[in-house]
């Protein structure tokens, strides 16, 4: 492995590990659930992407072959991370709305209600006349 590749791999691995650690530290440190969603879904996924790119260059340097399956993992994670974050936010809004969980009195406060007469679409569509809504049936 040449020196340039080695330095690049080291930098990418350290950057990725730092992002993964910061994302998990955000999960411990931030005060409310909605804020705690930010760290893992953004920083950790980005850090893992950096680790995967480092792995591509590492195996190119060691074995002399370009591999793409790491990029497949990165692509899959970058597609799925926002979807899971959206679902988790929906779960939290739903639990707060049905009264199963009391939002603590933090600086950010409780999640705001949407404008208009509707509500967040967690269990049903936001309003009764939403197109293709199960609330109408």
């Amino acid at each position: 492995m040449t020196m340039v590749v080695e330095i690049m791999v080291c930098a990418l691995v350290l950057l990725g590990a730092a992002f993964v650690l910061i994302g998990s530290w955000a999960l411990v440190r931030l005060p409310s659930t909605m804020e705690r969603l930010h760290g893992p879904t953004k920083a950790t996924t980005l850090g893992l992407g950096s680790l995967l790119v480092a792995s591509v260059f590492y195996f190119q340097g060691r074995l002399g072959v370009w591999t793409a399956h790491e990029l497949l993992i990165a692509l899959f994670l970058f597609i799925t991370a926002p979807i899971s974050a959206n679902m988790i936010a929906k779960v939290h809004l739903h639990r707060v709305r049905i009264g199963a969980f009391e939002e603590p009195d933090t600086k950010a406060g409780a999640p705001p209600r949407p404008p208009g007469e509707g509500d967040w679409a967690t269990f049903e569509a936001p309003t009764r006349n939403t197109q293709a809504s199960t609330a109408n049936t």
Binding site: V20, V28, P40
Partner: protein, 89 residues
């Protein structure tokens, strides 16, 4: 140099897993626990990739890819179960 870097990275990821475990145990909201589990899966993928780099083996990527898929599906299934009381409607 690269051995030391990989060891430092392994330590970082292990510490991150400990943080996630703490949040998983503490809660307080159900959403926190789901986030902690989801992040644990992502950190486990990072750990697998680092182990693959240390062992210079190509065989770990299938495990990482499978774990990414199973982690996503389990998070969505958990959320769906809390939201609707049912996973496949």
């Amino acid at each position: 140099m690269i051995t030391l870097t990989l060891q430092i990275a392994l330590g970082c990821v292990a510490l991150a897993l400990l943080f996630n475990g703490w949040r998983l145990l503490k809660g307080p909201a159900l959403g926190d626990r789901i986030v902690a589990l989801d992040t644990m899966v992502i950190n486990a993928i990072a750990l697998i990739i680092l182990i693959g780099m240390i062992g210079e083996s190509d065989a770990y990527f299938e495990a990482a890819l499978l774990l990414a898929m199973v982690g996503f599906v389990s998070t969505i299934a958990y959320c769906k179960f809390i939201l609707r009381g049912d996973i496949v409607e």
